[in-house]
């Protein structure tokens, strides 16, 4: 079937009152961004409270649908066939041909739903519905009408210039268009969880920056490349991402030398949060995002989260907090990050992990351990921040 345009449905945006135009503009912008990588020419516009994509040249249907399936804010993608208005008989022929191509198995129920934007069409909507219904039944007696819960809801839209026919709705990813919800700093590690957390936050319209803590020689160039690759997968949904790579080795070694080993992970994470918050402020982000899930590992018990959270004043979003590992894996497979995430390169969280880390850290004890670092840590902190290498991924 040759579709001439795509009608984009969105749900949440429609209820945004006076801000609505902002959300729609963001959606149009994101659709344009997604279609840039698709072969063909398209024109994206807002008409009558809907977003329309006109296909101006040949294109690959699957490629377009898969690109649009990554644009947050879209709840449904309707491929539309346009026909000229050459009288009702001709329209009926076109509709019957459309059904034949679209639905090889005719054993289905249907309902015709006519919308007239052009009010001077010789028949009113009700008449079109009834007459078109009977023409379809004449053509395929095995089809049945069901006005309450039809298998096929066939929409015929009569417009000034053309008539639109559509019936299929391909589900979109939902959420809100990226860029409408502020900007956040994602702590990206290279594991399975953090890319999923980034995806989930981007889904709510948030633009992302990301920070990765690199610890050479304990972590390799390949581990860093892996994180860049993961950011690239997220950017398919979230738009371009600025990835900050911070050299964390010296801080990590200092903690190792001066603090109790069972508290290493907690103290290390506290410094990661501090650096992330510092970068977030410098880059106009309003929150931090992590892939933590309650109780998953020692550093993600409620006590541990409280201890790491304590160093930040910014809100820290943990979209996976209530997810099981399997649920997280499912999403990571959907967004294609799983295979990259499980590549076996060591990341900075695992290199010095103690055999029995504290699972219920007491903030006061942790703070006391951190005083061992007081002489050196400020300098190491600012040195680490200076190593910030920004990689723009899209």
């Amino acid at each position: 079937m040759n579709y001439t345009s795509f009608l984009i449905k969105y749900a949440e945006i429609a209820i945004k009152g006076k801000n609505r135009y902002m959300f729609e503009d963001a959606l149009v912008r994101q659709i344009n961004f997604a279609l840039k990588k698709v072969q063909g020419e398209f024109s994206v516009g807002k008409t009558q409270g809907r977003v329309n994509i006109e296909c101006l040249s040949d294109y690959d249907y699957d490629e377009v649908v898969s690109a649009l399936s990554c644009v947050f804010g879209i709840t449904g993608i309707c491929p539309v066939v346009h026909v000229e208005d050459e009288g009702f008989d001709r329209l009926a022929e076109d509709v019957i041909k459309y059904i034949d191509e679209e639905y090889p198995d005719k054993n289905r129920t249907f309902k015709v739903n006519c919308r007239r934007a052009r009010k001077n069409y010789p028949m009113d909507s009700q008449e079109v519905n009834m007459e078109m219904g009977s023409r379809i039944l004449d053509a395929w007696p095995e089809m049945k009408v069901d006005v309450h819960d039809p298998d096929i809801l066939l929409t015929i839209e009569i417009r000034d210039d053309k008539i639109y026919i559509y019936s299929k709705i391909i589900p979109g990813p939902g959420g809100m268009p990226v860029g409408t919800g502020g900007k956040a700093m994602l702590l990206l590690s290279g594991g399975i969880d953090s890319p999923v957390a980034g995806y989930m936050i981007a889904k709510r319209g948030v633009k992302l920056e990301a920070v990765y803590f690199h610890a050479p020689p304990y972590t390799s160039e390949r581990a860093k490349q892996k994180v860049v690759d993961l950011a690239r997968y997220i950017s398919k949904y979230a738009g371009s991402i600025r990835l900050h790579v911070i050299n964390f080795t010296d801080i990590q070694l200092e903690i190792y030398e001066k603090c109790p080993h069972d508290e290493l992970t907690i103290i290390m994470r506290r410094y990661m949060m501090r650096i992330a918050e510092h970068l977030a402020k410098e880059n106009g982000c309003l929150s931090l995002v992590t892939g933590e899930s309650l109780g998953q590992v020692a550093s993600q018990t409620m006590q541990s989260l409280a201890a790491t959270n304590e160093v930040c004043t910014m809100p820290v979003f943990r979209p996976l907090i209530g997810f099981d590992k399997n649920e997280i894996i499912k999403i990571s497979e959907k967004i294609d990050t799983y295979e990259t995430s499980i590549l076996p390169y060591e990341d900075c969280c695992t290199i010095f992990v103690a055999k029995h880390p504290v699972t219920k850290p007491n903030v006061n004890i942790i703070k006391r351990s951190e005083t061992n670092l007081s002489e050196t840590i400020d300098e190491l902190f600012s040195k680490a921040v200076e190593t910030d290498e920004v990689i723009v991924v899209s």
């Binding site: 020689p217 030398e257 076996p344 060591e346």
Partner: protein, 386 residues
């Protein structure tokens, strides 16, 4: 300055070979199977390559078969011979320390109904001839033993093993994976009773993506790839003319003044292992009483208390390139079967790195590696995982 000491993973292509291959791609791009002049020109390079290898191995040119590399050569030798001989018997013998390019085809053949015996090795990584004698059966069709082990550099007593096999049964085939051995030792298939021998181009300063399999002319073998029937139907597919010619030229260069080159490498190896052995908590794996009973280019060292990956990246930082265990198995950090087989202590399995030299390796490079090690050991030992 940098020290590239990962020559068992791959070697730098000799300068002159790059130019040689470019010229072939530019001027003699014909298909060697074509009837016209351009085809004949291209075919000349194939003949040239066969002559070179026939000369080095002291075999007939028609016994040289070109492949895409060591892995394909090993697969063809094992699977091709097993299929051709399956009516005679279904027993195959190999060792526990072979490269995956031999072990994986063996596993595949086990699924196909063959029976495989995996020989143990001694502490220096060598097969005990008596073990082979015991393992040989009337239905043994094929024995596959590597010339030089890629992880520890142990050198197998190939000629002795070959004699044992042929004394037991002249028809039992002997395959030798010489991917690490060719270019480092003199190999003579006829004298050493070898029926099939695998060689790879990029381990001998030639290009990647090309290799060869020597197939003695009485060997029963079937193709494992099917197509246009090139190379007597045993290996279909248009020959990789520039690759084959480049690999041959590399071999020619390598075997020119061969004894002097290997003497020099043994000298370096001996210096390197002595100095390394002096470092605290460093042990060398696969050493033999006489250094000449090991390959001249591979040194495997276990470093107490430091994980191989960390050591590798720390050395990298100093411009020294090495690998952890064997490069082929190091992107999946599985514990090395070879190291286990020679009895390396459990806590050292994950702390073993490999230095591998080539004819181009200099004393300066070795010294850079040594000074790097001396500097890093105390620092890295301070920070270790619990």
């Amino acid at each position: 300055m940098t020290a590239y000491l990962d020559n068992s993973a791959t070697t730098r292509c000799f300068d002159e070979i790059r130019e040689f291959m470019c010229e072939i791609m530019d001027k003699h791009y014909g298909n060697p199977s074509s009837m016209h002049m351009a085809g004949v020109e291209a075919e000349k390079y194939i003949r040239y390559a066969k002559d070179i290898f026939a000369g080095i191995l002291k075999v007939k040119p028609k016994e040289i078969l070109f492949t895409s590399g060591g892995t394909e050569s090993d697969n063809l030798a094992l699977i091709g011979c097993a299929r051709a001989c399956r009516r005679t018997g279904k027993h195959i013998i190999t060792t526990k320390i072979e490269h995956p390019a031999v072990l994986e085809p063996c596993k595949y053949l086990e699924d196909e109904g063959f029976e495989v015996t995996y020989l143990d090795v001694d502490g220096s990584g060598r097969v005990r001839p008596d073990d082979l004698k015991e393992a040989l059966r009337d239905d043994t069709i094929l024995v596959s033993v590597m010339y030089v082990n890629n992880e520890i550099g142990s050198l197998q007593p190939i000629a002795g093993l070959g004699r044992i096999i042929k004394e037991h049964n002249r028809d039992t085939l002997f395959h030798v994976d010489a991917v690490q051995g060719f270019g480092k030792v003199r190999i003579s298939p006829v004298r050493e009773h070898i029926d099939l021998l695998s060689v790879s181009g990029h381990k001998i300063h030639g290009p990647k993506g090309v290799g060869l399999l020597y197939v003695g002319d009485k060997v029963k073998i079937k193709p494992i790839m099917f197509g246009g029937g090139q190379q007597k139907g045993l290996r279909s597919g248009t020959e990789n003319v520039p690759g084959i010619a480049g690999m041959a030229r590399a071999a020619e260069l390598l075997y020119d003044g061969f004894e002097a080159k290997t003497d020099r490498m043994y000298g370096l190896k001996s210096y390197f292992t002595d100095e390394l052995g002096r470092l605290e908590g460093v042990s060398i794996n696969g050493l033999a009483d006489d250094i000449r009973e090991t390959a001249p280019h591979i040194i495997s060292a276990s470093v107490e208390g430091i994980r191989a990956e960390v050591m590798l990246h720390a050395l990298e930082d100093k411009g020294v390139y090495v690998s952890s265990g064997s490069a082929c198995s190091s992107n999946k950090p599985a514990i090395s079967e070879t190291l286990k087989a020679i009895g390396v202590k459990k806590e050292l399995l994950d702390s073993t790195i490999r230095f591998s030299m080539s004819v181009e390796t200099t004393k300066e490079e070795i010294d850079l590696a040594l000074s790097g090690m001396r500097e890093l050991l105390p620092v890295l030992r301070k920070f270790k995982r619990h």
